[in-house]
């Protein structure tokens, strides 16, 4: 390996396709996540269209039952794992390092690896369409419908392996963001000075770290059942299908919060900005988010009220489920409190955030109605549940995400999205969403089961179904308008400036789009809403801030070099998983291809670990020690401690509060003051 990595230099392209393939820049990776997930959104939308067309009239024969099953399964799986999660990840990537005043995430190459594995997992899942064996057992694939006798083709193998690959991506990203948020905050940004979106990202990442291994085990057992003849979920062999439900929902309920908490974080950024007021009750909102993250582990069986767990289990989960509505309600009141008395500016981002609050209340209320086990018995597996999930995931998560798109688009591109088209987009979405999904409450309570491919006219479900299908058309037009808006806005000259909304977050301090090194000078944080503090102070002093932080020569700031190896390792992971689909039927080596994938991943990891640092660029010589970071550490602190290596064992006293600190601290944990280094002059010019 040494010879290999010594021969291959690190890639150096700064532009063109190759630079995107080898990038480790969190901003570019964020854009890659966003674009890819948006394409999957269109795909999932088309699948929804097939469902709505088929159900528009009774006794419809547009698609056969098998195709219909594939459509709703892939629609649910796509929207959850390939759209909402990666769209959230797109914001994590782009915004988090900027919002905490860092130069990149803690492990930039691991971050690139997460993206590639996500892309390949999505492609693997959708490759099932090419062999006409798309998974067809619903997005939670209940056993024992998923076992070989009932799902004989390879659809469920695509599903299980695709989700495993996506799990690798989510876990790698979650590890990265926990470390980034815990360790890479700018001096002074104590936990309770972190923007709400950063907090929600931290909670979401911790949930991912703990929830994904559970579904990993469930999927392993399912794969073994289908390919190696085990009986984990097969009653004939003594197995219990209910175990799958438990494993799935122990993962699945925290997953629901993984989907919604990032959107709550986004909305908690947008509402204060456009109300010109700080978030009402910030500590309470943080606390509620953390409580939701913890309590999310104690409610999973409310998905299983009808399987017969017994009155004690049902009562306990009923009570915990109702309790979790409390922190959620607290957040809603805090958002309303934020609006109260504010100077509300109804920009498109604000409209989407307000839409989020309104629609999430509807979804939350129908959620409380499922928490009541007796009424849930009536609602289980009906369109009432479909209505609920779409109010919280479309009206909730997706509206929050679109609020974020309109809010941060100028930061990503330097260009504002067109406001008129944006408002039209909002209203089409808001109306279309309600027309599509509100009738489903009635349909469900009138007994229409979910997952049926058609229905007879005498049930009396025709009118509302047709209405829901018309609502889909409105959403379709809304999505087209958004694409038009993107096209128009991307073509115009940059017009956004660095801070179009007079926003509070650190990310608005720097130019749009941000320079590759983010902050020329790592900011010092004095409180919550740091950029507001700075702007108000500057105004009071009579020289308002109108310019972003001045750009510097990028070669003076050491940034991690691009790398081939995350992509190579990810390709290995793809071959490892996809190879499981090829059963040779031979005695001892039934599955040879995964070994090839494993070998490629192994080579990738070894090369990754031994990768040489980039060739020194001009002007970089005065950070010789930083080059040895090999790109796996963000070097935010290096500019502050150019000779940092020498000061390791020095004990420091905080100049503010006189507490003793380890020199490893970047800021005083007692008072938030920056740690000055007595051994080195504190020069930050780079």
């Amino acid at each position: 390996m040494a010879t290999l990595t010594d021969v291959i230099d690190r890639p150096t392209s700064q532009s063109g396709l190759w630079s995107w393939i080898t990038t480790v820049d969190h901003k570019r990776i964020g854009v890659l996540y966003g674009v890819t997930a948006f394409i999957f959104l269109l795909l999932g939308g088309v699948e929804a269209g097939v469902i709505r067309l088929q159900l528009a009239v009774p006794d419809n024969t547009l698609v056969d039952p098998d195709t219909f099953n594939q459509m709703f399964t892939m629609h649910g799986t796509t929207m959850i794992f390939l759209v909402i999660m990666p769209l959230s990840a797109s914001f994590f990537n782009f915004v988090i390092p900027l919002a905490i005043g860092a130069r990149d995430v803690a492990f930039p190459r691991l971050n690139a690896f997460s993206y590639w594995v996500f892309l390949f997992g999505g492609l693997l899942l959708n490759a099932s369409f090419l062999t006409n064996q798309a998974p067809d057992a619903g997005w939670f694939s209940y056993a024992n419908l998923t076992e070989k006798p009932f799902s004989a083709n390879q659809g469920l193998d695509y599903w299980a392996l695709g989700l495993q690959v996506l799990g690798v991506s989510s876990l790698a990203a979650a590890f990265n963001f926990v470390v980034t948020i815990v360790n890479l905050r700018a001096p002074g940004m104590s936990l309770m000075r972190m923007p709400l979106f950063v907090w929600m990202t931290l909670v979401t990442s911790i949930l991912l770290v703990l929830a994904f291994p559970v579904i990993t085990v469930g999927l392993i057992e399912l794969t073994f059942d289908r390919n190696f003849g085990t009986n984990f979920f097969v009653p004939e062999g003594g197995g219990d299908p209910i175990l799958w439900q438990h494993l799935f929902w122990v993962f699945g309920h925290p997953e629901v919060y993984i989907l919604i908490l990032p959107a709550m974080g986004i909305v908690s950024e947008v509402l204060p900005t456009f109300s010109r007021k700080p978030l009402f009750g910030y500590p309470v909102v943080v606390f509620s988010g953390v409580v939701i993250g913890i309590m999310g582990w104690a409610v999973w069986s409310h998905h299983m009220f009808t399987v017969g767990l017994g009155p004690v289990a049902v009562s306990v989960f009923m009570i915990t489920t109702m309790l979790i509505a409390v922190p959620t309600g607290v957040k809603i009141f805090n958002w309303i409190g934020t609006l109260w008395g504010g100077q509300i500016d109804l920009k498109t981002a604000m409209l989407f955030a307000l839409g989020f609050v309104a629609l999430f209340i509807v979804g939350g209320l129908s959620g409380v109605s499922h928490a009541v086990a007796p009424s849930d018995n009536q609602q289980q597996d009906t369109y009432y549940i479909v209505a609920h999930i779409h109010y919280v995931l479309f009206g909730g998560a997706l509206f929050g995400i679109f609020a974020g798109v309109y809010y941060w688009f100028p930061k990503v591109t330097g260009k504002l999205l067109h406001e008129g088209l944006g408002k039209l987009h909002f209203w089409l979405y808001f109306i279309g969403m309600n027309v599509t999904f509100f009738p489903m409450h009635y349909l469900g309570l009138n007994g229409m089961p979910r997952r049926i491919y058609t229905y007879a006219s005498e049930f009396g479900w025709d009118g509302l179904n047709l209405l829901a299908s018309l609502g889909y058309l409105v959403l379709f037009v809304g999505t087209l308008l958004f694409i038009v808006n993107l096209m128009i806005s991307l073509r115009k000259e940059p017009d956004a400036g660095h801070d179009p909304w007079d926003a509070p977050g650190l990310e608005w301090k720097i130019a749009s789009p941000p320079p590759v090194y983010n902050f020329a000078k790592i900011p010092q944080v004095e409180g919550l809403d740091q950029y507001w503090i700075e702007k108000r102070r500057a105004e009071a002093e009579g020289h308002p801030i109108t310019e972003p932080e001045a750009l510097v020569d990028p070669s003076t700031i050491h940034m991690p070099s691009p790398s081939y190896w995350p992509l190579v390792t990810a390709i290995g992971v793809l071959i490892l998983a996809a190879g499981m689909l090829v059963d040779t039927g031979w005695d001892y080596i039934r599955f040879p291809i995964p070994f090839i994938g494993g070998l490629i991943s192994f080579i990738g990891i070894v090369a990754w670990a031994n990768e040489p640092p980039a060739k020194e660029h001009a002007g970089g010589d005065h950070h010789p020690e930083a080059a040895h970071g090999g790109g796996h550490l963000a070097v935010a602190a290096v500019a502050e401690h150019p000779g940092g290596g020498a000061t390791h064992s020095v004990r420091l006293l905080c100049s503010n509060c006189n507490n003793q600190l380890s020199s490893n601290f970047r800021f005083c944990p007692y008072c938030g003051g920056a740690v000055e280094d007595p051994a080195e002059p504190h020069h930050q010019e780079g």
């Binding site: 890479l184 559970v214 085990v217 984990f232 494993l247 070894v606 670990a609 550490l633």
Partner: protein
Amino acid sequence: MAHQTEVSHHAPEEEHPTSTGINNRKLLMWVFLSSDCLFFGSLIATYMVYRGQSLVGPYPVDIIDVPITTISTFVLLCSSFAMVRALAATNENRQGAILFWLLMTAFLGAIFIGFQVYEFNLFRSEGLRIDTNLFGSTFFTLTGFHGAHVTLGIVWLLGLAWVAKKGRLGPKTALDVELAGLYWHFVDIVWIVIFTLLYLIGGFDTGPAGDPSLVPHSITGFLGLI
């Protein structure tokens, strides 16, 4: 992925100051291990749920050989001692000792894996395969994934030994050894749980399912004894 040995030839490894003072890579390893806890937790839960539920034999009491596995368990625990010595040698910069203890750790791990291969083959010849019954499915899945973890650890240790042979491990790069150590000790601890549940407690289970009197060492019975 955690194998992040540096090629810093002479320069000391830079430890960047962080907000908490904890090294990024060390924190990453802890977060990864917390995730792995849930992974093994779910596998162990599956085993416990299906304990005594096999419809056909062989049952644990027919197969499990506690004395033999006690030996391999002892070997694995000794490997943790060797790992501790390897880290101590790295901190004290005793180059020969670093290499020796790293290789010793890997060697003891390999002996453990050898025992496992022997055990798997023995069980197979005695009629227990992964698709025989629930005991076979849960046993081979759980111990198999543990064995895969140990194997990965051995590869990691050998990689470190290769770096050590070039004289690149020392006090400045002790974190490279410490991370492998965290992983190795974690995998060891998981084995202690597995050995206790699958061998000491579950190893005497008889079948078939549905007759509690035939499951004398069920968890409740065990707790009752205490």
